[in-house]
């Protein structure tokens, strides 16, 4: 029996629509508002170490009055010290290269997983997720043991006779790349696998039938069709990689400049909460812009198809 929805049903269905927004509000917008507000305040030797720009408990009129005399001093400071924009640029560079490396390693992996006989796939999927069962921190520490001068990798290479003396990998940017690619690979593989596994194999047969070699069919059919998987995986790797803190701290040297480390130092070493908040806000803006641009182009692409 389907009749007009009862008031209760209507409320429930409304509520389900609002759940994601509530989620967004509680876990993203509210913390963001707090950080943004913090970034406008002045540092002070106090507990907590800043003078608030305004209070959310002030009346609206009061907030408005204070808004007009806001100081963006913290933001100005960030633009003046080259340390910050160098750290942003170097983070972006490291994130872009790591994302690309993840794609390079992850695509064949996901492709292979999507092509093996069906009954193998759950096992392989399990193996991809398996590292999550141990702590992230422990896994990164393990890499120290592998990469350090007298570590497993060097011992192995020496034993093979490929190298005469141990390589310095730990505390270089190479180690940071290794750490990021290793840690974020599953985030690349999973969306790609989901996409590739869904693709209809008869499309490749059709391409074969129309004169494509297997290789050509891969580039003309499989890759374009997996574009959304590539984008999803790349965003999942790129976004956390930009703000990554643990990996450069543990594996990187003093010359590996990343914004996550700068932020941490600003917050805990300098105890300059307002500046570190400003650093965080700018980082967020840097990350949000490409996402929005991408979504716009997606929407336009979809419309152009009509």
């Amino acid at each position: 029996m389907t009749g007009a929805p009862t008031p209760l049903q209507r409320i429930v269905s409304r509520a389900t629509i609002w759940v994601p927004y509530l989620w967004l509000l509680l876990l993203f917008l509210a913390p963001f508002a707090m950080v943004a507000k913090l970034s406008l305040s002045e540092p002070a030797i106090a507990q907590p170490p800043y003078i608030p720009a305004f209070f959310f408990s002030d009346g609206l009129a009061d907030i408005w009055a204070k808004l007009q005399q806001f100081s963006f001093a913290n933001y100005v400071f960030i633009t003046q010290d080259s340390l910050y924009w160098k750290a942003y640029l170097s983070s972006l560079q490291i994130a872009v290269i790591s994302t690309f490396l993840c794609l390079l390693v992850g695509y064949p992996l996901a492709y292979g997983m999507a092509r093996v006989p069906r009954n193998w796939r759950p096992t392989l999927l399990m193996l991809v997720v398996l590292p999550f069962w141990t702590s992230f921190l422990i896994r990164v520490y393990a890499w120290i043991g592998i990469l350090k001068k007298e570590g497993l990798l060097n011992q192995f290479l020496l034993w093979l006779g490929v190298i005469g003396e141990p390589l310095t990998i730990l505390n270089t940017s190479t180690a940071v790349y290794v750490g990021i690619v290793y840690s974020y690979l599953p985030f690349m593989v999973l969306p790609l696998y989901a996409n590739l596994e869904r693709q209809d194999p008869t499309l490749l047969e059709a391409a074969n039938d129309l004169g494509c070699t297997r290789m050509a069919a891969f580039w003309k059919i499989t890759v374009p069709l997996s574009f959304s998987g590539i984008v999803a995986g790349s965003l999942l790797v790129f976004i956390p990689a930009v703000g990554e803190f643990v990996i450069p701290s543990l594996l990187g040297g003093s010359d590996t400049l990343m914004i996550g480390r700068v932020l941490f130092d600003e917050f805990f070493q300098n105890r300059d909460w307002p500046v570190s908040s400003a650093v965080a806000v700018i980082l967020l803006l840097i990350l949000i812009v490409p996402i929005m641009l991408f979504q716009r182009s997606e929407a336009r692409g979809r419309e152009a198809g009509r």
């Binding site: 209809d200 008869t202 499309l203 047969e205 059709a206 391409a207 074969n208 039938d209 129309l210 004169g211 494509c212 070699t213 050509a216 059919i221 374009p224 069709l225 574009f227 198809g305 009509r306």
Partner: protein, 380 residues
């Protein structure tokens, strides 16, 4: 179709010519998937420019047969030749064969135009020629207005037409059509059938078509193969396969047929006399002479039965019964008659005038009659 081409077609029967070279040869081909035998020791010759139809129930191996020819499946046993060349080990993209897939397999990220142009681009055809060919193909399947649409913005029938256009675009030597017209409405389907036949005349393509529609097979095909569980039961031109089926399976699969189980009573000159379980004796012209006492089936198409209320004065075969059901089909009426021995038989009558359909009604006692030449004797 122009009238000038018809005589040519009607004299097209290379399969009766012992000197004709077959174009496609399946020689003792078997295809197994694990334990499943999809195609079972099958031998089949198809000739150049032939329009060849495969008929058979779901799962009998029609698609498998096509996929082997297209190069997507390796043969488990046997050999396959095309224009004298052994196809073993020849990759699909090297075969002059194009296939229209049962699931269409249109590329979802390309619009209609790009889908049709795909094979031509692959071939390295000049841009202007591609545009011209694509335009012709679009016109052929009446999809000009949809050139810029993506496949997911098309209806099932429209997708089917694009798939057809795409497989035709390269003008291959052999075109494999796996249920090409199933999703089209009746009118469009009939039009497309004629388009296909005309195209085949023009381009000299050899067509291999799978269809579930017997009428379609009868309309378009030079020869029809009826398959059952991976084997071919009979290959013959439409008329022969309809009029002279070799066994009950083929007879029953193509069109309607009344099958009456009988025992062979005696042989006479040019005909065999049969006897039903109810003791009615029936005559059928036959070259075969099954041994007396063996079981045989008296097979007759419903339209070959005459149905009357009065007992005909003279007829080779006479059966009496009661009208059990009547199906009025517009152009004709089908009577389902319960014979005196309890079996059912169907008789079909053309409705020549407005009242003819109403003369015989439910529960009337009627006579079914036919000549010995109208029926066929089947022993298996």
């Amino acid at each position: 179709m122009s009238a000038a081409q018809l005589p040519e077609r009607s004299s097209f029967h290379p399969w009766t010519d012992p000197n004709a070279q077959p174009f496609i040869t399946f020689q003792n081909v078997t295809k197994r998937y694990g334990d499943v035998v999809a195609v079972d020791n099958l031998t089949l010759n198809i000739y150049e420019r032939e329009f060849f139809a495969l008929l058979g129930p779901s799962g009998c191996g029609k698609t498998t047969l096509m996929r082997m020819l297209a190069g997507f499946e390796e043969l488990s046993e046997g050999s396959l030749h095309l224009a004298g060349e052994d196809l073993a080990g020849v990759a699909p993209y090297r075969r002059p064969v194009n296939m229209m897939f049962q699931s269409y397999a249109l590329f979802p990220h390309m619009n209609v135009e790009a889908n049709i142009a795909f094979g031509l681009k692959q071939e390295g055809m000049a841009k202007a020629d591609i545009a011209e060919r694509v335009g012709r193909m679009l016109a052929l399947v009446k999809m000009e207005d949809f050139a810029r649409r993506k496949p997911d913005q098309l209806s099932g029938g429209q997708k089917q037409r694009v798939a057809l256009a795409r497989s035709l675009a390269k003008q291959p030597k052999v075109l494999l059509l796996d249920e090409p017209l199933g999703a089209l409405d009746r009118k469009l389907r009939e039009e497309t059938q004629f388009e296909l036949m005309e195209l085949q005349e023009q381009l000299g393509i050899t067509f291999l078509i799978v269809t579930h529609d017997q009428e379609e097979a009868m309309t378009v095909a030079d020869r029809i193969a009826v398959m059952e569980r991976g084997k071919i039961v009979q290959v013959a031109p439409p008329m022969e396969i309809y009029e002279r089926p070799t066994n009950r399976y083929v007879a029953d699969f193509l069109g309607d047929i009344d099958l009456i189980e009988t025992t062979v009573a005696k042989h006479a000159k040019g005909f065999v006399q049969l006897e039903t379980a109810g003791g009615v004796s029936l005559k059928v012209a036959s070259e075969d002479v099954p041994s007396v006492g063996s079981t045989a089936w008296f097979a007759i198409r419903p339209e070959k039965f005459a149905i009357t209320k009065a007992k005909p004065k003279s007829a080779d075969n006479l059966l009496s019964g009661e009208v059990w059901d009547i199906a009025y089909m517009g152009g004709m009426t089908i009577y389902k008659v319960k014979l005196d021995d309890g079996d059912f038989a169907k008789a079909m009558v053309m409705n020549r005038d407005l009242t003819s359909g109403s003369r015989i009604t439910w529960e009337d006692r009627v006579w079914l009659s036919c000549s010995r030449d109208a029926a066929r004797l089947l022993t298996s």
